[in-house]
Symmetry: C2
Subunit: 508 residues, 2 copies
């Protein structure tokens, strides 16, 4: 029986395990500010890798980055009824622009510096960006407008969980305006595909891309599409969304253009975003009972080299031996980029240091002791295959010279993706009877996964009824997978002829 690095296993308590990974891998911590976290260097380093790779994909599809104000006048929100309705309950509101002494040694907002119009801290930027689009767009020649921003946003959450639901979070939000609805819908799906391929190829997180049902739409959207990832407890995590907004925001914000025939038309807009939530997905998809396993493409350090220092004069030669390896590896390429190899010389005990990097999930850890050096070797540990069959740590003595890590890192990336893909496939099951849904989720299985059901895609009150029935089982509608086979059965909720397949499951 292997003794693992974390004090709690996934199997024993998944929620506690998630929190333990965040703490033990130095990803983030409570900040002392309600609902806001501190993202620590290893967690932020993963976010920087996500930014770099996703930003490249966003730019490669023709989008440019901009920056829009953090504060949005309340009146901007009031212009789109569904939008403000959706966000009003969770908005942080700035009401004063100065503090003043309260006469008791403290400070209070200065009543003389009360804002005439309160400012909302952006929960999302459709409204303020829409105002800019209205200035930028006059003629069909100005279209399409394809922009993106990387920013912090605030949605006041009553119950927060690190990376998954925090009052402030970091994200990118793309916003585009087009001359026709067809073009805007195509953009919506193009960005959904960017998210899908980014999640699968870079994060090694397989997802199901599809359309959200009406009740899960973004406030103000005509269509909302998502990528849904499956966590190891079988729950779904919505990892990115892409919205076709039709002319809803264009009407509210007066984004109009003169078409080629000289007539004024409203533009058709889209928006799409992914956030630091992605890091929560990476943890719950790839983590194990020894901590996080970071896919090499997004690992801030892909290889960590640690000389086993003993505070003796011989340490110097050992460090030099390791430095040569670090330089040799940094000159190599893996997954299309130079290898990111760290030489860790911190004054920490060797075993502590090894397990700290295991918990952080560095893809490859290389330990070097005096005996390794004497034999011209180093000891290589792969984070995706930590133990031998006999339960011992799988540390493999390997000649230092000529050590190539490119293929190894590619294999680790592939292994993580394959594991997750098999898990996703194995845990989506079609059922054709609501009783099966009930019994499946009543069984108390640790990781019940998702069920695929056929339905008549009800709307309005009929949909509300479906949502209520599912809610009683703690289930939600996830999405109707894109590219699915035609429906061929009856709606499991109403018995009517089904029109599509939709996924149901528990979710974060």
């Amino acid at each position: 029986m292997v003794k693992h690095a974390l004090s709690v296993t996934r199997d024993a308590d998944f929620a506690a395990w998630y929190q333990a990974v965040i703490t033990e891998a130095d990803l983030a911590e409570e900040s002392g500010v309600r609902g806001c976290m501190v993202i620590r260097p290893w967690g932020y380093g993963i976010w920087e890798r996500i930014q770099r790779l996703l930003d490249d994909r966003i730019k490669a599809t023709g989008h440019e980055n901009c920056y829009f104000p953090l504060f949005i006048p309340l009146s901007y929100f009031e212009q789109e009824a569904a939008h403000v309705e959706g966000f009003a309950k969770e908005m942080a509101v700035v009401t004063h622009h100065r503090l003043v002494a309260d006469g008791k040694g403290g400070l209070v907002p200065d009543p003389a510096a009360k804002l005439e119009e309160p400012l909302v801290v952006r929960p999302t930027s459709e409204t303020v960006i829409g105002h800019a689009f209205a200035r930028w767009v006059q003629s069909w020649r100005d279209l399409p407008v394809l922009i993106n921003q990387w920013a912090n946003v605030v949605r006041w959450e009553m119950r927060t969980r690190m990376f998954l639901r925090t009052s402030e979070f970091l994200w990118q939000e793309g916003h585009t305006a087009h001359a026709s609805a067809d073009e805007a819908r195509a953009e919506t799906l193009r960005m959904l595909e960017v998210y899908r391929s980014f999640a699968e190829d870079d994060l090694a997180v397989p997802v199901v891309a599809g359309e959200k049902p009406e009740n899960e739409r973004f406030p103000g959207a005509v269509e909302t599409w998502s990528i849904e990832a499956m966590m190891q407890d079988g729950k779904a995590l919505q990892a990115g969304t892409s919205h076709f907004l039709g002319s809803n925001f264009a009407r509210a914000q007066n984004i109009r253009f003169q078409n080629a025939s000289g007539e004024l038309e409203h533009a058709q807009t889209t928006s799409w975003g992914v956030s630091t939530r992605m890091i929560g997905a990476v943890i719950m998809v790839h983590g194990d009972d020894d901590g996080l396993r970071v896919p090499p493409k997004i690992a801030p350090w892909q290889v960590v080299i640690m000389p086993m220092l003993r505070d003796v004069p011989e340490d110097e030669a050992l460090v030099a031996y390791c430095r040569e390896l670090q330089q040799a590896l940094a000159a190599q390429t893996a997954l299309g980029e130079p290898v990111r190899a760290l030489l860790d010389l911190k004054p920490v005990k060797a075993a502590t240091k090894r397990w700290s990097w295991v918990k952080k999930g560095a893809p490859v850890v290389i330990e070097v002791g005096g005996r390794d050096m004497a034999a011209g070797n180093v000891s290589v540990i792969r984070r995706d295959r930590l133990y031998r069959q006999d339960g011992k740590l799988d540390s493999v003595a390997t000649p230092r010279d000529g050590l190539a890590v490119g293929a190894l890192l590619e294999e680790v990336q592939r292994t993580l993706r394959n594991e997750a893909t098999e898990r996703l496939k194995a845990n989506i099951r079609p059922v054709s009877d609501f009783a099966e849904v009930e019994s499946h989720f009543a069984e108390g299985a640790k990781a019940p996964g998702w069920l695929e059901v056929q339905w008549a895609r009800p709307t309005g009150a009929a949909l509300d009824k479906v949502v209520e029935r599912l809610k009683a089982l703690k289930l939600t509608l996830r999405n109707a997978p894109a590219g699915q086979a035609a429906a061929d059965g009856a709606c499991i909720f109403t018995g009517e002829p089904a029109v599509e397949r939709v996924l149901v499951g528990r979710a974060y």
Copy 2:
């Protein structure tokens, strides 16, 4: 007489010219939100280049990036008296976390969702990061802590000017904790040097690095150092600051460690930052009457290739001819990175397009017409040397094949830097008499530059008197240059023996 691209020249109205560059180069625009600007793609692209290059330097000196909350509880500020005193008058305060219908069709902050303790939108993060340091630092082994964050901050400004003074701005803020004052001071100066070399080598903006006088210190700092750049109107722009905070914040926030002898000590901290203000410096140092000139190192596109399209079938061959060039250039290296070459195919008239890129300041613009192609040529325009001696645009026919832009871009970078360096040198003059200061600045010169004076470095009330005398001339103390020759005269303010040289000038 050359007719220039902007409607206003530097000479005619420097402030209006600055605003014209921002508008005509598509750098930024008013957002409709008080004091906040929209940074447009070309302006944001420059900021992304600044981020990339400076971030590399910050990481190369051993710092790691993190992220801390946007909101800071008021009580955190109250712990450091000078700090809160310095910022209280310009803080945006969040008082509510929900909106509710006002019964008249609008929304108001919900009185039932008033925060118990107001939250301040960070104007700077010493306090919230200090709280984290207090958790992270227990023993001397935990030191130094070397971190940085890229973030937005808010300081409520009554009079704003784009890039120079906006209510919200983007910046990086480094925060470090050390075991000794010597080490913390060394860090303060190390980062000052990072800023100096970054400004000079990457932005081509020469600066004077030195210590700010007491009255210009950051609230709560023991020493504040700055880099000061000279704009073309002779005014100073403080382009970056580095603060030695001593144990002021460590005491306020209880950042203590056990030293090697087992005693508890307060840590010594530093902080340092540069912001989107840097873009204002780039505009006012390198801009000319045709718009911006972006130094190649920070140009989002270094070379812009534009086929002169005429909406005819022959366009296709012209585009192919240009695309080959774009690919050839993108495979070259300039200033240590792959060349950033854009093929601009937007459906805009050739002359409009050319002048749009001139105004934006792309370092090299390449136009290609049918005749160029027939001769195997392209027409090359250098933004740093736009006109020939006869006042005509200096567009040079050059063979396309074998065109190498690496050396050319390096030369443009060097030319901009040399021009600015000569201007800086020519406009700092030592004077030894206060009457000379008065007469120099009374003359109404367009670009009076700075004067170097010797002084006794007064403090307290004596310093206040000096500051008042200068203020009457609209002058401020900039900094006491680092590495200066020993003082050898009398203080021009008091006649006492001088202890150092300090720069005075007008400033943004």
